[in-house]
């Protein structure tokens, strides 16, 4: 019998919510092109003792945050997701994709303006009103701030020793600075996580530069130029692999490489977490270089 159907026992405390329950918003890309990111991260968070639940009936976040102040329609989708969080009795929403984080978080900020919230609530007469207060968190914030580096490093069973990993932030995790997961000019939150996992974080100057994003469709030449510079910068600093939290960044970094650029593999940050926690094997191309490490 599932736990929730079992008759309550008299001695149990009246706690309705699992302390480690986390609601999470996957987003379309993680259900399609970036399934490995979701798989690795959920396995790792499970290992850390979290009961990660997919947000019921989530809808696409809209992907690109609308800059038009009067384009309220663009906020309807994100706010509807926040209402789902509210309905589930939670106040925190975990995101994995950097773009989803950006859009949802910015909409959550936008509707702090009472007039905008009132109009959006009036439009969504098919839902309960959004009351505000849902916190949108990105995975890296969850790891570094909610779990903390110390607890994280204690959970490591397969330290990423000897791996020189470069964190590529791109734009959407950092900008605008009001919603950035860290200082947009000198971010180090991902490096702190990598250190906790036993890896050697490699700082490279282009780690918060734009990869060209959606220009990949209309101006792949621009993206190729950007990607070339990013990879060169990472290689010069000695990174063996790059980690990202964005499926579009990953696509660009892999598929828009100019000829002759350093062959640096790109992984999701959730995958590195899964290696270190022992729920996934370190890929061979990286394990090889790890073998030579003197312990």
């Amino acid at each position: 019998m599932p736990a929730e159907l079992r008759p309550a026992e008299s001695h149990t405390s009246p706690v309705t919510r699992h302390a480690s329950r986390v609601l999470y918003f996957p987003g379309c890309a993680l259900k399609d092109q970036a399934q490995e990111y979701e798989r690795a991260t959920l396995a790792a968070l499970g290992k850390l003792g979290y009961k990660v639940e997919e947000l019921p009936r989530w809808n696409c976040c809209g992907t690109v945050y609308s800059l038009a102040q009067d384009d309220l329609m663009r906020h309807v989708g994100p706010v509807r997701n926040l209402i789902r969080v509210q309905e589930a009795g939670e106040e925190k929403l975990l995101t994995l994709c950097a773009m989803c984080y950006n859009t949802l978080r910015r909409s959550a900020e936008f509707v702090k303006d009472p007039e905008s919230l009132r109009r959006i609530n009036a439009f969504m007469d098919d839902e309960e009103d959004y009351r505000g207060g849902v916190r949108v968190l990105h995975l890296v914030q969850f790891l570094a701030e909610e779990i903390g580096e110390e607890a994280l490093s204690q959970a490591v069973v397969q330290p990423l020793e000897g791996l020189r990993l470069g964190a590529y932030y791109g734009c959407t995790l950092l900008r605008p600075k009001e919603i950035g997961v860290d200082d947009p000019d000198r971010p180090e939150i991902m490096e702190r996580i990598l250190q906790a996992l036993g890896a050697e974080p490699v700082l490279f100057p282009e780690r918060m530069e734009c990869c060209g994003a959606y220009l990949t469709v209309t101006r792949p030449d621009v993206v190729r130029e950007r990607v070339g510079e990013i990879l060169l910068s990472a290689a010069k600093a000695g990174a063996q692999a790059l980690l990202t939290a964005c499926p579009l960044c990953k696509f660009n970094l892999e598929e828009r490489r100019p000829l002759g650029t350093p062959k640096i593999p790109v992984y999701y940050v959730g995958e590195a977490l899964a290696w270190a926690l022992g729920v996934q094997e370190i890929p061979e191309e990286l394990a090889k270089s790890q073998a030579g490490v003197i312990r």
Binding site: C28, K31, D32, R57, W58, N59, C60, G62, M73, R74, V76, G77, R80, F123, M124, D125, D126, E127
Partner: protein, 233 residues
């Protein structure tokens, strides 16, 4: 005993059909009310049973801002209702060869890229007379879950009401049809027992029995029919 003829006067309501007021008996469906009012419908009607989706109708009620959408053959008139039927929703069905496409989200998006314009306003769901979770189906399409799209839209009548109201101009019912076809062609479990039976028939398993039946006289057939085994209830 003298026969007493009782004439019950039906209760009448006022409906506004495309702006013109008509008195019609309460309890009629919108479709019958249209005919009662003298309209001869050549479009906007088909099965009269809630299956064909031809009688898509939009209406408002006094003092209510909402624009309701329903099937004329399935909805009874209300006093003060003002309505118009929308017998057809123009939407382009993109050509494809079902044997050459894959059952993925990419197929849906390649043929109907406007899916990505969905702003999750839920207007489509609110306008569906079948009460389908139309927006959820669009969302499932966006995340490449073709089976889910097929499941959520199984009862779609292609009435076009969602498509007429969508601010993202998505031709929903064509997308649904494609998803269901992809599901049927590639994702639905194959009915092995059916193939087995077809093979058995081709191999002549029932030939002897059938030949015997076709050679009987009508009288013999009747007797056989009466003596047939009937499964217990």
């Amino acid at each position: 005993m003298d026969e007493v003829q009782v004439k019950v006067k039906p209760e009448m309501v006022t409906v506004y059909i495309m702006g013109q007021a008509y008195q019609v008996p309460a309890g009629l469906t919108i479709l019958k009310a249209l005919e009662y009012a003298g309209f001869r419908l050549v479009r906007g009607v088909g099965c009269r049973g809630g299956f064909c989706g031809a009688c898509a109708t939009v209406y408002r009620l006094p003092g209510d801002y909402r624009l309701y959408a329903d099937l004329a053959c399935q909805t009874t008139v209300k006093d003060g209702m003002y309505l118009a039927i929308l017998p057809f929703t123009p939407a382009e069905r993109r050509p494809y060869d079902i044997r050459k496409v894959k059952p993925t989200g990419e197929t849906l998006l390649a043929l109907y890229p406007e899916l990505a314009r969905c702003v999750a306003c839920n207007t489509c769901t609110k306008s569906c007379p079948q009460r389908l979770e139309v927006m959820d189906a669009v969302q499932a399409a966006l995340r490449g879950d073709v089976a889910k799209v097929a499941e959520l839209t199984f009862d779609c009548l292609s009435c076009g009401l969602c498509t007429m109201r969508c601010p993202a101009e998505i031709p929903h019912y064509h997308v649904w049809q494609l998803a269901r076809r992809l599901y049927g062609a590639y994702l639905a479990p194959k009915a092995e027992h059916l193939h087995r039976r077809v093979r058995e028939i081709e191999e002549g398993k029932f030939k002897e029995e059938l030949d015997r039946l076709t050679s009987l006289t009508e009288e013999e057939l009747r007797e056989l029919y009466k003596a047939r085994e009937i499964e217990p209830e």
